[in-house]
Amino acid sequence: MLLIQLTILALVAISGTIVVLARDVASQPTVVSLFGLILALMFLVFQAPDVSLSQIVVGAVGLPLMILLTLAKLRRDAQILERKAQKEKSE
């Protein structure tokens, strides 16, 4: 196996572990995005440019965006609930 292949496999292992260990919700999409980009590089190194092209957009852009939008919605729902609870308290 070539040195570059071993390097990229090690990078995938490291960044994959970081994704699992990332506990801060706000930083998770960023970490996933970076992981997706490294995966795309791995596909390229292993001579699969076709897969790499779709991985760049799906893994590095699409998936983090969906996570981000879901987080935004959850946060807003929580805010609305909080405000309702405060209103009931004051009444």
Partner: protein, 251 residues
């Protein structure tokens, strides 16, 4: 379950997966040689049989085209399912809705960011169409190019806002394009029935190699897939962005 039990269970499962993974890895054909017989067959046949230079596209849209029909409809059904789950509640339709991100939008994006993002849209569209139409010549094809096209819609939202996104991209049109892409794939596949040949047989003239018209139905299927994938992802974006809309006044 206590922490030590969970850890023990995890180590057991992880080591099992690790052992199986490394056993499986030993039988995977080497990636830098031409050891795999299937790969050799495909590489030696694609050019003489189909007149196209990208073997991956030949596998996707011709030799194993029937599998791709399945994949295509996995995407179609998942988009449909997401749209169904994220459909707008009736009472929300009545109200004037604003983007929940708008309050934060007062500070950005800056003009420099907007200019940069908006000037990227046209090149992205061209690049997406290039990838779709050159699927039979270079790496790429319907899936890859379709996603690039959809990301042009995404950066339109990032550079502007949901109101502009909604005005530029008519939802009804994109839904129609999505259906046309998915149906087009099937129709092109059924074309060969007129010649009494099996589903998805490449019956069109193969054209001249190294040109856009090479590959017969492969290029057409690539375009139909591109349409379906890009429209599908834009519809997903629509559904998710719509979820972030708030009735105006409520913050």
């Amino acid at each position: 379950m206590s922490r030590s039990w969970r850890l023990a269970l995890f180590i057991l499962g992880a080591s099992g997966i690790a052992i199986l993974f490394f056993l499986a890895l030993r039988t995977v054909p080497s990636s830098n040689g031409l050891g795999d017989r299937y790969a050799q067959q495909i590489n030696s046949r694609t050019f003489p049989e189909r007149n196209i230079t990208d073997a991956v596209t030949a596998v996707n849209f011709d030799y194993r085209g029937f599998d791709t029909v399945g994949e295509e409809f996995i995407l179609f059904v998942s988009v449909l399912g997401s749209l169904l789950l994220l459909r707008m509640a009736e009472e929300r339709k009545e109200k004037l809705l604003i983007d929940a991100a708008e309050p934060w939008r007062d500070v950005g994006p800056s003009d420099a960011t907007r200019l940069w993002i908006l000037s990227m849209i046209a090149p992205k569209v061209v690049f997406g169409m290039y990838i779709i139409t050159h699927g039979q010549l270079t790496p790429g094809g319907g899936f890859q190019g379709g996603i690039v096209l959809a990301s042009a819609a995404l950066i339109l939202y990032l550079g502007e806002n949901f109101a502009v996104f909604r005005n530029v991209l008519s939802r009804a049109l994109i839904e129609a394009l999505e259906a046309a892409g998915a149906g087009g794939f099937l129709l092109i596949g059924m074309l060969s029935w007129f010649w009494g040949r099996p589903f998805l047989t490449d019956i069109l003239p193969l054209g001249k190699a190294h040109e856009l018209t090479s590959g017969g139905t492969i290029a057409l299927i690539s375009m139909a897939t591109g349409l379906e994938v890009s429209a599908g992802f834009i519809l997903l974006l629509y559904a998710f962005l719509q979820e972030n809309l708030l009735p105006s006044g409520e913050k």
